[in-house]
Amino acid sequence: MHSPVVTSTGRDLRLDLFRGLALWLIFLDHIPSNVVSWITIRNYGFSDATEIFIFISGYTAAFVYGRAMLERGFVVAGARILKRAWQIYVAHIFLFAIYLAEISYVATSFENPLYAEEMNILDFLKQPDQTIVQALLLKFKPANMDVLPLYIVLLIVFPPVLWLLQRAPTAALAASAAMYVLAWWLNINLAAYQEGVWYFNPFAWQLLFVFGAWCALGGAERLGPALRSAFTTGLALAYIAFAIVIAFTWYIPGFNRLIHLPVWFEDLIYPIDKTNLDVLRFAHFLALAAVTVRFVPQTWPALKSWVLYPAIICGQHSLEIFCLGIFLAFAGHFAMVEVSAAIWMQILISALGIIIMIGTAALIMWYKTVEGRGPTTRPKASNADLAGGEA
């Protein structure tokens, strides 16, 4: 099993770079009413940073644990994957505690009669016995806290998936695609508390994760020539342009009157379903990925420059930085509410948040180095550090 996009040092910095950038974008998107979030990709097409994050997570998971599975066997690799899932679970519960703190504060401080109805969001505080247990079971998930539970579920089932991917990659990918189709067809999703379903349907989103894993285990090599062909690039660029035009009809008033999408066409494409990873979203991610692979070679010198270094180190510690980003988005929103929501404040909060993310990533790296766990001291480490923040 050899992956062409992995250098001799074992590390494709593009993965770290784009995962780092995705983490920044997720942070910016999670601060509501933030003018800086205008720069994020969700405003220029169908997919957003979540797709990038999940795909790269699948890729790195397969890369790291795939090697472990070959060297140490199914049981050891499986145990490592489950340990990783446990770490993410703990991180999720930590974020939930922060959410509880924020919402409890709001409950006691916010009395605007205009928003009496919105205060129903606090109802769950009345039955902590129910909600806390449901949160521990990952069934109760507050807004903006849906990605980690998805990730946990994907990792829990990953050992057998990885096993199959190593033996019959095409069959595994086909099974994943079949599951995606079934999820759409039969409306399969996990139940949420108190009602409804998971915001990120694991039965649909697994396709992106498995596809990432498949690419890591040689799929990218097989796709390589087709992926880099002029035809694919042209098609991808055309689709990206199409998505930009559609996205502009959402935000630029009158633009849709200018373009005038026919009603049947609107009925066809809307709503673009994030929960079930709409085909339009998946295709948009594929187009972005194809263009990226085409124009950003792995040997791109900038990958080693100081300019991209901050994003790369964030991508290398993705779990920590992801959680930090969610926390910072809460804190940033809190600052906007309590201090000022002016535009300068939004820019300040966005910039500060990213600086804190970079500083923390550097700190974590330093810790690992002094403890002798860093990639520099153990280049052959088959454990998680290698693939950037583990998986």
């Binding site: 999670h30 509501p32 009413s33 933030n34 003018v35 979030s37 205008w38 405003n43 959410y99 924020e102 919402i103 709001v106 401080s109 916010f110 009395e111 605007n112 009669p113 205009l114 928003y115 009496a116 109805e117 919105e118 205060m119 129903n120 969001i121 109802d123 507050p142 807004a143 903006n144 409306n187 999703n189 949420a192 108190q194 009602e195 409804g196 379903v197 915001y199 935000y251 630029i252 008033p253 009158g254 009603v263 609107e266 009925d267 809307y270 709503p271 379903d273 994030k274 929960t275 988005a329 809460f330 929103h333 906007m336 509410v337 929501a341 939004q346």
Partner: protein, 252 residues
Amino acid sequence: MRLMAAAALAALVFADGAVAAERPRCGVPDYLLFGESPLNRVSKVVATQKQLRIAVVGTGSSALAGPDGPPSAYPARLEAVLGQRLPPVEVKVVTLLRTRLTAEDLAKGMDKLVADEKPNLVIWQTGTIDAIRRIDPDAFKGALEDGVERLNRGGADVILMNMQYSPRTETMISMTPYADVMRVVAQHFDTPLFDRLGIMRHWSETGAFDLYAAGRDNVLAHRVHDCIGRAIAALVINAGKLPAVPAAQAGR
């Protein structure tokens, strides 16, 4: 905040896009308020019978608490403004408050509502409870379609009204998927959408109102509801192509 950039762009593209609502304080750009969906039954009943019966069906955010709440809430304001702007028409607005109910719960009651109240127009305010409870957006969509169908079958035009813009709870309640669904359903049925979320966000961004305020400020709530009432009145007049007195002359 995207709406702010959108508004800036709109100002460039539609430099003539005059303010629709009445007072400068609660001005709403045309693109946020007006669409192309008609209110044919409203047009007809106003032209032929000189009367208009409107039912507002909604949850908590369609009402204000306290003794001076009901006359200050937007349904009462809508009735007052329409009365001023449509002098020969007898306008009646009834409010059917269904607190804490989801769109699905509300949709089931639509047949009875049409039979009991015989409205020409139903303003269906919904989405907040669904967003709070994180109802499956697909189920939400189905409920909306069911409700609008029942209302249309019963002979009423419909305006869908989405959630309030509530900046303090924005990280806790994810409104966007539900607002998107409401836009899709409105488009599908060619029925107007009153984008309360976008309009209130516009007011917040332009500084018309400080919606971040935390205190027990009844004045703010009353003023916001007054402005919402005026804006809906403008939408009803525009979509129903009603022969109205211009807002400036009708104002008190």
